[in-house]
């Protein structure tokens, strides 16, 4: 159905065009035809042959009469010449007319009659003279003799002329009739063509009107849709603005080439000292971090969770995420920045809680062991000596019982401070639990460890703590020492060794240092 429509149109157009061509041709033909007729009928008709024939006939009679009157002496030579001249003038047009060609059947006598009469009149005319009467009488007798016999034939000429003129007029009538018939057909054709054209014009006009109306409707609906779309876009834009502004993340949309700022969150804008092109650089606290960030920015399409310190005036930790976009066919960077200062702080706090003994501030047992393993491995690798001290507060349970837990805690804290003072720079130190502490002393062989332990024990002994009643609380510690012997070993093993040494110290009276290592010179008391 679809392809037949244009074909149908094409055929209609072809038909219309051929009708037009026929119309034009027919009109041109008719114009030529009518123009010929116009030219013909511009001059008045010349159908005077009947009158001329009648005149010839009557002049023949009058010439004959005049000849008789000349013979009777009643007329003169000029009169005869005049009548002869008149008769001759009547003969000439009939000799030259074409009208007798229109006779349905040729009248053979007719040209003979005309010719005979012409020769007679010519002969008589050449013999006559205006003044010669005798010559006129001679000619007149010939005329009187011959002219009466010409009256019959000249009468026949009238009849012939009448028939000829009638035939000619009828021929012209038929010709005119045919012409008018053709004109009628041409006019009919013209009328039909005009009707077709008018119909086509009307149809086209209606079609155009319809199309115009449809186009108008389309245009209007399009405009409405565009307006609706624009309104929605603006709503979305506003919504997006609200979302972005209320988001915990700060957002910046920057041109990749010129760092043109398409959008920068208010908070981010306040934190940077420069706008537009210098914005990003001014945001970073550390220029080295900025350089690294830029390198990453140009090398990868997207990356997340890039930690950086922002805002040089009041630095904070931010987590940066980047996406590459295209805006108006220009590359752009979408940068999200999440303030993670709080998280960082909490992280730090948690780490502290997880690794530290809250009472003494020393590392807890787990942390100490981890640090000790690390340090021990390092010492083994470097083939350096390394010793473990296990420290226990003497009779701590009695202090707790006598003075209360608060005082006990104070004792623990005081001892921890002393331990920290002596051992902190030398290696990992921690509270194993209760009143028991441990320390790993790097680069210390048995002797060195012993000396350190002795110094520590001595220092704690000098510690004076006030009880609640005001009495001094004596605090002493026992220390077990184990030294890494150079073989492959573990902190646990060393701890066990040191623990055994501690037990020995306890059993030998407390407030003393002991070691199981026989190579270490135990001081003698």
């Amino acid at each position: 159905m679809q392809p037949s429509r244009p074909r149908h149109h094409k055929l209609a157009m072809l038909a219309l065009l051929s009708t037009l061509a026929t119309m034009i041709l027919a009109t041109a033909y008719s114009l030529v035809n009518v123009n010929a007729k116009y030219a013909k009928y511009s001059a008045p008709g010349m159908h005077t042959e009947v009158w001329q024939s009648y005149q010839l006939h009557s002049e023949t009679r009058r010439l004959s009469d005049t000849a008789n009157r000349v013979l009777a002496g009643e007329a003169t030579a000029p009169e005869l010449i005049q009548r002869l001249g008149v008769a001759m003038s009547q003969l000439a047009p009939l000799q030259n007319t074409q009208v007798f060609d229109y006779l349905p059947e040729a009248h053979t006598e007719l040209p003979k009659t005309l010719e005979h009469l012409d020769s007679l009149l010519d002969a008589w005319s050449s013999r006559l003279s205006w003044q010669d009467t005798s010559l006129a009488t001679q000619v007149a007798s010939e005329m009187a003799d011959q002219l009466p016999s010409m009256l019959g034939p000249t009468h026949d000429i009238i009849v012939s002329a009448n028939i000829a003129v009638a035939s000619r007029l009828d021929g012209e009538r038929q010709d005119l009739k045919r012409t008018f018939q053709r004109l009628v057909w041409v006019l009919l054709l013209l009328g039909t063509g005009s009707l077709l054209l008018a119909a086509k014009l009307f149809r086209d006009h209606r079609h155009t009107l319809h199309l115009t109306r449809e186009l108008g409707t389309l245009n209007q609906s399009l405009e409405e849709r565009v307006a609706e779309r624009t309104r929605r876009l603006e709503e979305r834009k506003a919504l997006l603005g609200i979302i972005l502004d209320s988001s915990p993340s700060d957002v910046a949309l920057l041109g990749a080439n010129d760092q043109h700022a398409y959008y920068i969150s208010d908070t981010l804008r306040q934190r940077a000292s420069a706008n537009d092109s210098g914005f990003l650089e001014s945001l970073f606290v550390d220029s080295h971090q900025y350089t690294l960030f830029m390198q990453r920015l140009t090398s990868s399409q997207a990356f997340d969770n890039w930690e950086a310190r922002l805002d040089p005036r009041s630095p904070y930790w931010a987590l940066l995420s980047v996406r590459h976009l295209e805006i108006d066919s220009r590359r752009a960077w979408l940068i999200w920045s999440l303030d993670i200062s709080e998280r960082k702080r909490m992280e730090h706090e948690l780490k502290q809680l997880a690794t530290t003994d809250s009472l003494t501030g020393l590392a807890n047992r787990r942390t100490f062991l981890r640090q000790a393993i690390k340090q021990l491995r390092r010492s083994l690798r470097e083939a350096k000596p390394c010793s473990v001290l296990v420290i226990d507060i003497d009779n701590f349970k009695r202090i707790n019982d006598q003075h209360g837990h608060q005082v006990g805690d104070t004792v623990l804290q005081a001892v921890a401070r002393r331990l920290d003072k002596h051992l902190h720079p030398r290696g990992p130190l921690g509270r194993l639990g209760g009143e028991e502490f441990a320390a790993l002393v790097k680069d210390a062989d048995g002797r060195a460890a012993w000396e350190i332990a002795e110094a520590l024990r001595d220092d704690v002994e000098c510690l004076t703590l006030q009880g609640e009643e005001g009495g001094a609380i004596p605090v002493t510690i026992s220390i077990g020492i184990a030294t890494h012997s150079g073989q492959d070993t573990s902190p646990q093993h060393l701890l066990v060794e040191a623990d055994k040494a501690l037990y020995l110290a306890k059993s030998r009276g407390r407030n003393r240092c002991e070691t199981l290592d026989q190579s270490s010179p135990a001081p003698s008391y």
């Binding site: 001059a43 002049e59 009548r83 001249g85 008149v86 003038s89 047009p93 010519d122 005319s125 205006w130």
Partner: protein
């Protein structure tokens, strides 16, 4: 070519009558009858030539004549010269008893002439002379109708003023 043939035809028309000479110029040939009580005037070609001449371009219709310069006397001035007041109409008669009436308005509008020369030559009777009432067809093409053809009277021999 066509023109040449037409001319030959024309010559053929007129030449055969050349054998007849034009009437003597002093021969009385035109009679003018004024209204009742008036005295008739009989005029020869020479008499007409005494009046100021007027030339028009015209032709004798229906006989295959061609346009030519006809010289004669203005009909109006002829009547004036004869001392005749202008009549309502004039009936012109020919030697072959043909006659037709000319309204006086023609004299005022077209000033037809009584011609005695065609292209400077006198005409014999067989050439439809010697006098012809000629209208200025060349100057007024609108005259080319049967009404004026009828008033173009050749072999003129009588004018009757009415």
């Amino acid at each position: 070519m066509h023109r040449v043939i037409t001319r030959l035809l024309l010559a053929g028309l007129l030449l055969p009558f050349g054998v007849q000479a034009a009437p003597p110029r002093d021969m009385p040939i035109l009679t003018i009858h004024p209204g009742p009580g008036g005295v008739s005037h009989v005029l020869s070609v020479a008499d007409l030539e005494a009046y100021p001449s007027r030339s028009v371009t015209g032709l004798i219709p229906d006989v295959g004549d061609h346009e030519a310069e006809w010289t004669g006397v203005s009909l109006a001035s002829l009547l004036q010269g004869l001392g005749e007041p202008l009549p309502a109409r004039i009936t012109a008669s020919a030697m072959d008893s043909y006659r037709e009436t000319i309204p006086i308005s023609d004299l005022e509008r077209y000033d037809p002439i009584v011609a005695y020369q065609r292209n400077g030559e006198y005409l014999s009777i067989s050439q439809r002379g010697p006098l012809v009432i000629m209208y200025p067809y060349g100057e007024h093409p609108e005259l080319l109708t049967r009404a004026f053809f009828s008033r173009t009277v050749w072999q003129l021999d009588e004018l009757r003023l009415e």
